[in-house]
């Protein structure tokens, strides 16, 4: 079966995170993604993370962070500062459907690679800019990384223990969130182009905007009430119970998404009458009376080890889960069943483990066609195929450091 984005060519000038993660998704969906990197070092993310090791345990020149977001792409090295390099990128953009970049606002205009310049060559081009703060506004020219947007969007302010400081989410959630918006924006712009609503267009994605929008119902709670949501550890601002509890041995996350589940929890904990008590029968009442309710639940859950409760609550249909580290997560029977780790053939080590794409499409399943590329691995292939550069010229460009 042909992949959903078969025939779509993506020219990817982005580095490090949001952009590469977005184009990896497009590659998973079947697009031909050409990753343009600077000669020499390439994408900075090739220098970040844990090294991949060979069978003898020796570190290789591949890092976990690069491997996490660059499968399915072809890598070409081009020096964007050289006019001839810029001309090559313009020619590739002329033959592409989608262009992604995350340079600081205005930087690509200096190279004649901004949206206005490329639209003149290819009006059907969908040009997606991803920046920290957006293409306009007082901070539009400031650099920024994930942590800055976690802090400024308010999500650190609402993450942490009640008596502790604001906490960062343990992964680069702001980068990833912006990447999802980029993918969604690009796919809907492709739809608009396909249905004749418009030709190409410019999409302006800001990490700060995206992270704030993703705060969603918690931000909305603030907007309606004017009250800053407190930091409350593992608890919820909107539901009770909904938190980690200590069992006799290890902690367990338990929650009730509706009143029927609370009724089942009370029965499983052998706390008769609790679900009929008017203080606890409905969620909004439980929120109000959590100070008396939660200690009763704590006492009950502390009486037995976690394995006992996992089994009993599963049987009762009460949502609950252990707090897993990665070894446990990747070992989890459901995670294994769903094939969330996939292995690709990979020359340096024979095989490479990757976290799978979670999209399960019945007719056009995600296909992993290429492992992450070595720097410039496809320079010659792309030059020959799309740019018709003769071999002698290729050699000269290489010697000048343009490729």
């Amino acid at each position: 079966m042909t992949a959903p984005l078969h025939g779509i060519r993506v020219l990817d000038l982005s580095r490090v995170f949001s952009g590469p993660f977005a184009t990896q998704m497009l590659a998973d969906l079947g697009a031909d993604v050409i990753k343009v990197e600077r000669p020499g070092l390439g994408d900075e993310v090739r220098q970040q993370g844990s090294p991949l090791r060979d069978a003898a345990g020796r570190p290789l020149a591949w890092t976990s962070s690069f491997l996490a977001m660059n499968r399915g792409k072809r890598s070409i090295t081009i020096d964007l500062a050289a006019p001839e390099g810029q001309a090559m990128v313009r020619e590739l953009a002329r033959q592409s459907d989608v262009f992604i970049e995350n340079f600081k606002t205005g930087d690509l205009a200096r190279h004649g690679l901004d949206y206005a310049s490329l639209r003149a060559l290819n009006p059907r081009l969908i040009y997606c800019s991803i920046t920290g703060f957006g293409q306009d506004g007082p901070r539009s020219r400031q650099p920024g990384y994930d942590l800055v947007f976690q802090a400024m969007s308010g999500i650190m302010g609402m993450t942490g223990e009640a008596d502790g400081p604001p906490q960062r989410v343990g992964y680069s959630v702001s980068d990833i969130t912006a990447a999802y918006h980029a993918v969604i924006g690009i796919l809907s712009a492709l739809h608009a182009r396909q249905s004749g609503l418009c030709e190409g267009q410019h999409i302006d994605i800001a990490l700060l905007d995206c992270q704030l929008a993703a705060a969603s119902h918690v931000a909305m709670g603030y907007l309606l009430s004017g009250v800053q949501p407190a930091r409350i550890g593992t608890r919820s601002h909107f539901m009770v119970p909904y938190q980690a509890f200590d069992c006799a041995d290890q902690p367990l996350v338990v929650m009730c998404g509706n009143d029927e589940q609370f009724r089942r929890l009370a029965a499983a904990l052998d706390l008769p009458g609790l679900a009929d008590d008017p203080r606890y029968a409905a969620n909004l009442q439980r929120m109000r009376h959590q100070d008396t309710l939660v200690p009763m639940l704590e006492d009950a859950l502390r009486a037995h080890p976690r394995a006992h409760w996992l089994e009993a609550l599963d049987r009762a249909g009460v949502p609950c889960a252990p707090i897993q580290d990665f070894r446990q997560a990747f070992d989890d029977p459901q995670v294994r069943h769903r094939g969330m780790v996939t292995h690709l053939p990979f020359a340096p080590t024979g095989t490479l483990p990757l976290v799978a794409n979670p999209l399960r499409l019945s007719e056009t399943p995600v296909e992993y066609r290429r492992p992450p590329p070595a720097l410039g691995e496809h320079t010659e292939e792309i030059c020959a195929q799309l740019l018709q550069v003769p071999v002698e010229r290729l050699r000269a460009l290489r010697e000048q450091g343009i490729l």
Binding site: S65, L147, S172, V227, Q334, R360
Partner: protein, 412 residues
């Protein structure tokens, strides 16, 4: 004109991921019909806070409902009864996309599963969102956001280290697992729509699990585990692979600094008047700084603690050092950049009231997002939709209402 003009979405989902995904499609111009059960409606109508009117009484829908249901029409239909199921099938036959988040297998009992509906409408893109997926040992279990935060490993890497004060796994303060699955749902739906329109002419089934989506989202941190076999340490606000990348105490509050390259590190040292550091081989490159973090960070802490937040921020901004304050929401919505980008908007919500909304962050130059409808009252559009899409007349609607198959509520 928005990009998905003319696309019809039937939204049978409740609470979070599904409604969030459907709201995104509505923002992009799709016509979204939200089916709710008569009486109580979506559970999320009963979660969150309500605004208070001038008389101090609570009014309107809850904050949680309003954050994920703009742009939709609400139709109240009882899906547990055959006549209600027939109405839903009729709507599905005339839709491009169906979103549902019932427990795996539940909708088959109603004849509303993918197989049944694909037979009626082969062009339908049918997206199932569930906690654990349509297959596997946990497929029958219910699940909500914190379960997936804990099972995916996310909580194990969020918070301070176990030995430190306040240490232990933490939950991310918003429903990141739900939202992440919502993004994947939209991506998959749009990809399937393109495949239908550009290649095959056929719809398909999408099986999306919150647990899968959250595992995939952890991305490079999970990859670090897969490559090294080592569980990444819980480091509070410190990055394990980049340095300096953390919060610092200033004289009057906290600031976060995220230095992404060596030039920025040199600029930071310049501002802090630490001229020896960038040339020191222990700190010259990021991998070296990450390795010598425990020696480097105290030097930076001492220098930063002398400055007030505002002055340091201005100096870092001028020098191109990525930094930011740790905002609460009052500060967020007051931030000049957030205001400039118009991330807060206000929509009319009937009865002369307006409601606040957080804007959609995707900025299209050609097909901008349009906000056409406030979040609906339960069953506000029941009559309108059934008349328009299924051609029912007043007598038929009255019969259905009397039999309690549908519920229609006047606009507020």
């Amino acid at each position: 004109m928005s990009s998905l003009a003319g696309v019809k979405v039937l939204d049978l989902s409740r609470v979070f991921s599904g409604p969030w995904a459907a709201q995104m499609l509505a923002d992009f111009g799709a016509d979204v019909i939200k089916v709710e059960r008569p009486g109580r409606g979506d559970d999320v109508r009963h979660q969150g806070l309500r605004a208070r009117g001038e008389d101090g009484r609570e009014e309107g829908e809850t904050s949680s409902f309003m954050s994920m249901n703009r742009g939709k029409r609400s139709v109240a239909i009882d899906l547990s009864r055959p006549a209600g199921q027939a109405l839903a099938r009729g709507l599905a036959m005339r839709s491009d996309i169906l979103i549902e988040n019932f427990k795996a297998g539940d909708l088959a009992r109603y004849g509303l599963d993918y197989t049944a509906l694909a037979a009626l409408n082969p062009r339908l893109v049918y997206c199932s969102i569930s906690g654990f997926g349509q297959t596997g040992p946990y497929r029958h279990l219910p699940g909500y956001d914190p379960l997936f935060q804990s099972m995916s490993g996310l909580m194990s890497i969020t918070g301070h280290a176990d030995g430190e004060p306040g240490g232990g796994p933490l939950r991310v303060g918003y429903s990141v697992g739900d939202i992440t699955a919502g993004f994947y749902a939209v991506s998959a739906i749009l990809a399937a729509l393109r495949h239908r329109d550009a290649v095959s002419g056929q719809g398909q089934h999408i099986d999306l699990a919150l647990l899968d989506a959250q595992v995939a989202s952890i991305s490079h941190v999970a990859m670090m585990y897969l490559v090294s076999g080592q569980q990444p340490a819980r480091l509070g606000n410190v990055s394990p692979i980049t340095c300096p990348w953390q919060s610092f105490d200033c004289a009057d509050g906290q600031i976060v600094v995220a230095v992404g390259n060596d030039t920025q590190f040199a600029a930071m040292c310049d501002v802090l008047e630490l001229p020896g550091l960038p040339g020191d081989p222990r700190y010259a490159t990021n991998p070296m700084r990450a390795r010598h973090r425990l020696e480097l960070v105290p030097l930076l802490e001492r220098a930063i603690a002398r400055h007030p937040v505002a002055r340091l921020r201005a100096a870092f901004d001028a020098a191109g050092v990525p930094c930011g304050p740790i905002n609460d929401f009052e500060q967020v919505f007051d931030d000049p950049q957030i205001r400039h980008r118009e991330m807060l908007l206000s929509m009319p919500a009937g009865a002369g009231r307006t409601i606040p909304q957080v804007a959609n962050p995707v900025r299209f130059s050609g097909t901008p997002v349009e906000y056409r409808r406030a979040p609906p009252a339960l069953g506000e559009h029941t009559d309108e939709v059934l008349r328009e899409v299924l051609g029912l007349d007043a007598a038929e609607l009255e019969d259905l209402r009397r039999d309690r198959i549908i519920q229609a509520t006047p606009a507020p």
